[in-house]
Amino acid sequence: MQGGLHTKHRTMAVPGASLVPILLLGLGIRLAAAHSPAGVECILFNEEYMTCTWGSGQTLTANYSLYYWYENRSPVAECKQYLWERGVRTGCRFEQSEIIQFQPFHVRVNASQDGRILEIPSNRMELQNLVKPEAPVNLTIRNMSSNQLQLTWSSPYPKAHCLEHVVKYKSNKDTSWMKQEVKGDIFSFPSVDYEKFYTFYVRSKINNYCGSTQLWSEWSVPVFWGSNTTSKGRSSPEPPGSPRHPHTVLTVSPWLFAGMAEEQLQWFWIHTVLIPIASCLLLLVLVVLLVRMERVWVIIMPRIPNPNKNFDDLFITHNGDFQEWVGVPKDVVESFKPNYSESICHVSELPYEPLQDSIHPPGVPGPQEHGPYKNSYVGA
């Protein structure tokens, strides 16, 4: 009996016992999935300070703690200066004294919520490969001989020899940017067009001699050169052959840069979107007008003349007699006949005979038989 009871309890306990680890596993997964950051990302900004972040305040809700150590060198220490966002720790800031390069660096982030702690380890890091230098400054353009420009700059990063750079440039007539890699801090632009307006940017990265990183700095503040009729008074063209001056045009403040970018964007929308659409609409309106308005249609597509009605009189009234319709005289018509013959009409002049005065006063013609017209004959 008791054995039966024990068996019954045992069978009831087994499903309960198997559920507990499943529940714990589910809770752990839930905690990890809902609150775990994607990973810890560390960046050394210009080798002055470092931030290690694991997410944003929008996605994280747990309480996070960061611990770090250098391999075979230092004990584990906790972050002294946390970064906060919306009341949640999202990162840690390290000052320069806490940063050691060329020593393997480890970080561990603990997430705690409702009494449970989840450890989030990170990979071993080499801090010299996580350096992001500051953007170059003091961009300066000089006019060299034979239409050549020389762009120079300086970098806030202390070891200039460890940097490589990229120059990005284009003119106001170009549609895309050109990029050129530069080892030193001088860029020569071989042939410049004085009619164009050029814009130059530079950014930097630690080169392969001093590290292995893909972190580029931000783009520098731009520098401009050339003539631009659309941007009033920004710079004036320098005629060729003029004395060599350091033609430093402008180093523009970020606010002006933002305004110029907006203006360029507006022009872009006008040129590529507004004008084509307006042209298409105008064309459509013209076509519709063309089809609907007959007056316009007749001007563009004039009717072909049809002389059919002009000849109704010829065929109906005159029965196809063209000569009659035209109004040619009958004798002219006869004269065109091939068997036409005309009798000869002789015309002669009678001699003059003075007449007696008693009978007929001078100037008065006599009887017809002696008249000068006696023998005249006009044949028909």
Partner: protein
Amino acid sequence: MSHAFFRSIFRVLPLLLVLSPVNSSSCTMGNKTTEIRVKYENILSHDIEELVNISAEYRDRCCKNKRHEHNKVFFCNDTQEIESLQSMACNMLKFFNKQKINKEFRRKAALVSCGTLQVLQCKCGRHKKEKVCMQVNAPNNEDTETVEQLKKKCNQEFCELKENISSLRSCWNKFEKIISR
């Protein structure tokens, strides 16, 4: 008579100890940093980069569990970068004859080691591993395995070599940064 003999011996021995270059570095390029930098930047850095790229093609998880325990750890000590590089380069030469590692990879690693020793004008002490450098520079007429075949092999010795390569590259980076000031 005998104590005169011993007194003379005792004077000579300390003198010999002071004069013998026991602990001095066997690298002779110490102060010529400009020359070292030129050779490193123009020649050696490209070979190191190529070697790192080849070793990066191996699956990284292959060596994750094989790290730490039996590996000899090399540090790039502050103010002793040249000595650290010498130590790393000499250690890397021993992998040249490890048959479990791909032959071409071994050869390239030895090439980098020999290049490091040549740039720094260093020797490797008693074992005279520089003989390996003569073999490395000799033309290789045998067939070499392809990179695809490289990816299949992963063993403890390979992981050690990979770790060594990474340390050597980091130490060169550190040295370059220091002399760039």
